[in-house]
């Protein structure tokens, strides 16, 4: 009996070690970033396509203020309230002292400078598909933005979610690298896929989540309950959104729907970003949405 208890403890310890090893924060290989030359214009495009300012500018910021990445916006979730940190170019309270590699670790692996796991309220599960060229360029562009000295605030998250270690397991479960929409795609659809799946994090709002907050990839872009409580965030799959590609591109530029009503809700801040993209990029997003399949039988199963 005694022996049995001991071996159970040994097994538990072993399982724990394996779990720790498997959930160890991952990092990019330095060789992937060194030698890449940043392109500031490209960095600016990535900044708007990635929507960094929607979360990292101060609450209520508009116009030029959106380039001050002071942090402070709060995101209420089922797991607690997250506060976006300062990612301005300030070297002490912002990320001005970070290397391009450090930024790549955060965006691609959700790993911080001290090896900590980030919470998925930071949409690194999307950014995981970003190219290193784009990250190096974004890094250079972020360094051209003003330094703001606002201290980042702590998140308000209860047990067990306040243990960042447990996020390693979450990542194992839900960080699925690779693309959702696959198969024969044109160059335009491929560009659209990159903009939506890697940069646009459109899916963070338009795809439903499971109980643990992971995206239901089999219900990709089929619409989701609105976290604000009222109404539903509409589905964008080809079967659900019957707008023409030009209609979608116009909506992403000016916010006008095909009936010339105008967008509302959280989509307004998204359009502030997509309005900064090129016409070609907005049309690429529309072309991609037209090939997103809907598994009709599974919709509404949440």
């Amino acid at each position: 009996m005694r022996r049995w208890i001991i071996s159970a403890a040994v097994v538990a310890a072993l399982v724990g070690l394996v779990a720790l090893a498997m959930t160890r924060p991952q990092r990019v290989d330095q060789a992937q970033v060194s030698g890449l030359t940043p392109d500031l214009g490209r960095g600016e495009e990535v900044f708007y396509a990635g929507g960094c300012a929607s979360c990292h500018s101060a609450p209520g910021a508009s116009g030029e203020e959106k380039l001050m990445l002071a942090g402070g916006r709060r995101f209420k979730t089922d797991f607690g309230t997250f506060v976006a940190p300062n990612i301005s170019s300030d070297p002490d309270v912002g990320i001005g002292a970070w290397s391009a590699e450090g930024l790549a670790n955060a965006l691609v692996h959700g790993t911080g400078p001290n090896g900590q796991h980030y919470y998925p309220a930071f949409p690194y599960t999307s950014y995981a598909n970003m190219t290193m060229e784009d990250i190096v360029s974004l890094h250079a562009f972020l360094n051209t933005l003003p330094a703001v000295v606002t201290e980042s605030e702590a998140h308000d998250v209860g047990f067990p979610f306040n243990i960042r270690r447990s996020l390693g397991g979450w990542k194992l479960l839900f960080m699925e690298p690779g693309w959702v929409v696959d198969g024969e795609l044109t160059d335009q659809q491929l560009r659209g896929r990159y903009l939506v799946e890697a940069l646009g994090h459109c899916t963070e709002c338009h795809t439903p989540r499971n109980k643990l907050g992971g995206l239901k990839r089999d219900l990709w872009l089929t619409g989701a309950p609105n976290p604000s409580g009222k109404g539903r965030i509409p589905g964008l799959t080809a079967a659900q959104l019957d707008w023409s590609e030009t209609d979608i591109a116009e909506y992403l530029r000016s916010g006008f729907t095909p009936d010339y009503d105008s967008a509302g809700g959280e989509m307004v801040e998204v359009i502030e970003n997509t309005s900064q993209l090129s016409d070609d990029d907005r049309l690429a997003i529309a072309a991609y949405l037209k090939v997103v399949p809907m598994r009709a039988s599974e919709v509404g199963s949440e």
Partner: protein, 156 residues
């Protein structure tokens, strides 16, 4: 007997249908007036949007007329159209949020931002299609900024 019965049933069904239709449509003339103004914006922007998207051929005169109309509609004094008690908590037939009545100065600022964007469109619409396209973004942005703050999402 049977016949009379089914006529009665049909009558009940149509009453029920009309009943739900009326429940969605507002009774309040002030709400009717302000949503009509919104529809006048949409109607005229449709002319401009068709050209911006390349669905209709660019026509400097028609574009200018549409832009003039939007500016003209903005001259209407709406102060009687937003009476107390016409918010979506008091009256389910509207999507106007109660916050409007607590932030009149800000609502005014957002209306002024639309007026500025409409005047810019008036100047751009008759020039060429690229100027028209460039003026669409700020115009739509001015509509959306107010809808985001003061209009409830559609209850789908």
């Amino acid at each position: 007997m049977m016949k009379k019965y089914s006529i009665l049933a049909a009558g009940l069904v149509s009453v029920a249908v009309i009943g739900t239709a009326i429940a969605q449509e507002t009774e309040n003339p002030a709400i009717k007036a302000r949503t009509s103004i919104m529809k006048l914006y949409s109607f005229n922007i449709a002319t401009l949007g068709g050209m911006a998207k390349g669905e209709t051929e660019y026509d400097a005169e028609a574009a200018t007329r549409a832009a003039n109309n939007i500016v003209a509609v903005l001259q209407i004094d709406q102060s009687e159209m937003w009476p107390a008690g016409s918010d979506n908590v008091s009256d389910p037939s509207t999507r106007a949020l109660p916050d409007i009545w607590e932030n009149f100065p800000d609502v005014g600022t957002k209306a002024q931002a639309l007026a500025d964007a409409a005047v810019a469109m008036q100047a751009a619409a008759g020039q060429d299609v690229d100027s028209l396209k460039a003026a669409m973004g700020p115009l739509g942005g001015a509509c959306s900024a107010c809808h985001k703050a003061y209009r409830a999402p559609e209850d789908k």
